[in-house]
């Protein structure tokens, strides 16, 4: 107990988790936007849009997240001078968000694409019969039902995103959990198991409610057919 209070007074553990949550929320927002654009491109009648979206998804699904994060810092920032802010920490934070968003968007696109399958063909046929255009039937008929059908895979994607936010350590974000855990172990090597358990259970506590919420929402929002 004494060790626990020592660790918590010396280090801002909740603050580290907050950084991960911020990374997750921003990346979730941007990857969602990019993912919706990608899935629209994939179902569009325009061949070049379909090809580019397919290639994007295939590329990012087969690349390790770590190499993307390292590339954001050592390639995009150090060599190509891609900067978001003059402050180092803010800059690295947004570089990490960019990397996470680019990577997660491919998985969001795949989740949404599988959600499209939960929409019966009759819905699209009815929309066509009513004279709706591609954009109208896509935005007013198909996509709203797609979101409701893909709550479970999207929830899983975002849980993976929360866990992946620890890889921001590879993009020099020094305030997030994995970097802080590493630092704490360095100075308190005798408490290594306790330190690991603090962080591990932190993630268990964060992830279980998201899992339960996903389950609840996917049951509540599913279109009963």
């Amino acid at each position: 107990m004494q060790d626990l209070t020592l660790l918590f007074t010396e280090y801002n553990v909740p603050g580290a988790f907050l950084v991960n949550i911020e990374l997750t929320l921003w990346s979730a927002l941007f990857s969602m936007i990019l993912g919706v654009i990608l899935v629209m491109m994939r179902i569009s009648p325009v061949a070049s849009l379909r090809t580019v979206a397919g290639a994007y998804v295939e590329l990012f699904k087969n690349l390790p997240l770590t190499i993307i994060m390292v590339f954001m810092v050592l390639g995009a920032y150090a060599q190509l001078k891609l900067t978001f802010s003059d402050t180092f920490t803010t800059n690295f934070f947004w570089l990490a968000v960019t990397g996470l968003s680019l990577y997660t968007a491919a998985f969001v696109c795949e989740s949404l694409r599988s959600g499209i399958n939960t929409v019966p063909i009759g819905q699209a046929e009815a929309a066509r019969a009513l004279g709706l255009s591609f954009t109208q039937s896509a935005f007013q008929i198909i996509l709203p039902q797609t979101f409701r059908g893909s709550v479970a895979p999207l929830g899983n994607t975002f849980i993976a995103l929360l866990k992946n936010s620890t890889v921001a350590a590879a993009a020099s974000v020094a305030t997030e959990t994995s970097s802080m855990m590493s630092e704490m172990i360095e100075y308190h090597a005798d408490l290594i198991v306790l330190i690991f358990l603090i962080f591990a259970f932190g993630y268990v506590i964060l992830i279980i409610p998201i899992g339960l919420l996903t389950t609840y929402l996917s049951n509540k929002l599913a279109v009963r057919r």
Binding site: A47, L74, N117, T118, E125, P153
Partner: protein
């Protein structure tokens, strides 16, 4: 036209001459925009603000010559493959142990295995790696980075395999278990001799897909100084100040290896299907959400059979039969809400749409027509 447009054909009417013209114009505009984006990226590479030309051969040559391959990329790739191969073997052992444990009739074994699997699923792999690395280093294990990469991947991916075993057993038709119980086998015997062997065959393609995840995750080892492909390319890049180029080469190698493995995993299910009554799956059920009963990896389902007009596929099995929810103890209570179960075609309201159902009756109809 219909062939290359099948994903989207149902969303809009077959375009007339005017519509086709519009589509081809949009096609050209989009193509030109993407070409401009590529050119802009190349220009940025050619002339970054106060930096050197990233496209110059001076920088690419040391990233591509024979020495780079023999001294850096290939040893790095070997380290990556070595760690992932061992991790997959370990993950299968871990997964079998706790996956079967979660299905055992004994409630204590079930609860303990369940707790271990859920914990392993929730903790980020990087945290596990850092923990084992520091711990092994302090205890004095030889090559701590290698063993911590392997062990962390075994624990996380083992929990994935455990769920695969469980959903594989859950996906078996009821008859398998009923028949073995009727023959006088105990529940445990039925599980070990009848159900699990079939579940293992069913999960093999998914295990190959999991190999891709393992291979991608070994790159995390570079954070704890494991000299894998990523770490080696960083070392090479810092020698010649061409890190962007070496990272691109490493990325291409990673992509190529993962892409080949994915193709292999996709070709396996059809070949293995004849050895099992459970549906073989090319992609693991994503066991990410703890306690998520609808833990259906719909991404996997979308890839299982041919694509439908809307850009995906039918769900092949009822949600109850997959993922965390697959439990041999509740088979009789299964309610068919959506999707269908091949073993229960009557559960599907629109049976005509059911592809397998159709296949089954194809011959019959065909002879009637004649």
């Amino acid at each position: 036209m219909a062939a290359n447009n099948n994903e989207s054909a149902v969303l809009f009417d077959q375009p007339g001459p005017k519509g086709r013209k519009m589509i081809s114009i949009a096609n050209w505009i989009a193509g030109i925009i993407f070409a401009i984006v590529v050119v802009l990226i190349l220009m940025r590479l050619h002339n970054p603000p106060d930096g050197e030309n990233q496209l110059s051969w001076e920088l690419w040559k040391p990233a591509l010559d024979a020495e780079a391959w023999t001294d850096f990329y290939l040893p790095g790739l070997w380290a990556t493959i070595r760690a992932s191969a061992l991790a997959v073997v370990g993950a299968v052992a871990f997964g079998l142990l706790f996956g079967i444990g979660r299905l055992m009739p004994n409630p204590l074994i079930r609860v303990v295995s369940g707790a271990i699997v859920e914990f392993a699923r929730a903790v980020p792999v990087l945290l596990l790696m850092i923990f084992f690395w520091r711990w092994f280093a302090s205890v004095g294990v030889p090559s701590p980075a290698y063993w911590s990469v392997v062990l962390a991947l075994v624990i996380y991916n083992g929990s994935v395999v455990a769920e695969l075993v469980r959903s594989g057993v859950g996906n078996l038709p009821d008859g398998q278990r009923e028949a073995s119980l009727a023959l006088g086998l105990t529940e445990t015997q039925s599980l070990m001799q009848i159900e699990v062997p079939q579940a293992i065959v069913a999960m093999l393609p998914a295990a190959v897909t999991q190999l891709v995840v393992v291979l991608k995750d070994t790159a995390l080892g570079s954070i704890i100084m494991y000299t894998d492909l990523l770490q080696q390319s960083r070392r090479l890049g810092s020698m010649y100040f061409n890190i962007l180029q070496t990272l691109v080469v490493a990325g291409v190698v990673y992509f190529f290896v993962c892409w080949l493995l994915s193709r292999l995993a996709e070709s396996l299910p059809a070949r293995l299907q004849q050895h099992t009554a459970a549906p073989t799956e090319p992609e693991p059920v994503a066991p990410i959400a703890a306690g998520d009963p609808s833990n259906v990896n719909q991404i996997a389902v979308a890839k299982e059979v041919e694509e439908l007009p809307l850009g995906g596929t039918d769900r092949q099995y009822h949600v109850h039969h997959r993922g965390t929810n697959a439990s041999i103890h509740q088979w009789r209570q299964t309610k068919y809400v959506q999707g269908y179960d091949v073993t229960h075609p009557e559960s599907q309201e629109e049976a005509e749409k059911d592809k397998l159902f159709k296949l089954h009756h194809k011959k019959e109809n065909h002879s009637e027509e004649e």
